[in-house]
Symmetry: C2
Subunit: 201 residues, 2 copies
DNA sequence: TCTATAATGTGACAAATGTCATATTAAGTC
DNA sequence: GACTTAATATGACATTTGTCACATTATAGA
């Protein structure tokens, strides 16, 4: 009997998947959580064979949980299950040596199949994910520009951003100018819209 | 046998719920869709007893589908199933005379129970939804201010907004000034953040 | 009927934003 | 070793943004 742990913060999906997976006669859902902290501690305790982790959860993200599982060298196989085909998420997942990365835009069959393949020792990435990442506009922003853009998102003005990232006000404005030119926009909000659409931040 | 139609654009949840509901021996899932258009035409054709509708779907929103069902005076009972406890969504749902409004932050049992209650002729609104709406900050913005704020969101500058909403540039800036004061902010981005947090736009 | 409030406008002003030219230093690449 | 890019900075400038005072008209409520 394969022991499954499921971490997913949307209860409707959490309970639905727990029930469905439990119906498979070789799978046993030994626990579920709706936040990352609970998930991590229970996974450490209960040592499931497979952990299915949503990314965006309260307290600790599924990627953080995956990373901890990797660091602690647990034998638990990890499958990330998320809505987001975002390059930076995917990279983090690969860094954490996850065994699978599946989008919620797949039917449940696919999840069951992924579980089986992962148990077989395979590593499984959603084909749509790979397509989506390969076809995505490559992020042209530098690290610091991304830092600045994230501060912009919170609504800070130039001076506040400067304080937050330890730069001069002028430098921040230069970075913003550069962000605008790279995104082909002429205001902070437009730049944010473009960057979010392309999943650069 | 109660005929259920399910419209939900996230395939993982769509398939999971379809399977689960199908397991109930008095319920029969006669069709599913991942967009509003398909849902509406199939509902018109197949006349299910209950339609479960997600709100944010491609082509036609669940609220639009609900409204059409109401206008066409179909006997199909409608349950809105959504992530969003947003006052304006709820109001639209009430206007469309839906029979239930359930948040995805509920377990599947709740959905099954809601289906049964709706079939019994009851009208069911998620308690968390009601709480959330009652405890929500009431939107202090006027209609025109909301119009302007929506334009701000697209990244337009004052002149462009003025054109878009047929106002003078000065008036737009006055409205923005008023929006900022009502939201207690000092920039467009902050105002957007507050308005989105409070689900005013 | 009086009184808010919404919707709309103008003009003036200070502050913030965005652009540009220019510069230094460090790191990485051919 | 030359070249490019990133990271950082300054100063000057034009434009945009946000504030404020003030004004008109329409409408809804007490």
């Amino acid at each position: 009997m394969t022991k499954i742990y499921l971490a997913e913060d949307q209860k409707m999906l959490n309970t639905a998947l727990a029930t469905l997976l439990g119906l498979e006669d070789d799978l046993d859902v030994i626990g579920t959580a709706t936040d990352g902290n609970t998930a991590l501690s229970e996974i450490v305790l209960k040592k499931p064979d497979v952990a299915i982790l949503d990314i965006e959860m309260p307290k600790l993200s599924g990627l953080d949980v995956a990373q901890q599982i990797d660091v602690l060298k647990l034998t638990t196989k990890v499958i990330i299950l998320t809505t987001f085909a975002k390059a930076s998420y995917f990279e983090q997942a690969v860094d954490a040596h996850v065994n699978g990365y599946l989008l919620k835009d797949n039917p449940t069959d696919q999840l069951v199949q992924t579980i089986r393949e992962v148990l077989d020792g395979k590593t499984v990435f959603s084909p749509e994910l790979v397509t989506s990442i390969l076809s995505a506009e490559k992020n042209p922003l530098t690290k610091r520009e991304i830092d600045v853009l994230k501060e912009i998102k919170t609504g800070k003005n130039s001076k506040e951003i400067a304080k937050a990232v330890f730069l001069s006000d002028g430098t921040v404005r230069n970075y913003i100018s550069s962000i605008l030119s790279k995104t082909g926009t002429s205001s902070r909000i437009e730049a944010l819209n473009i960057a979010e659409k392309n999943k650069w931040i």
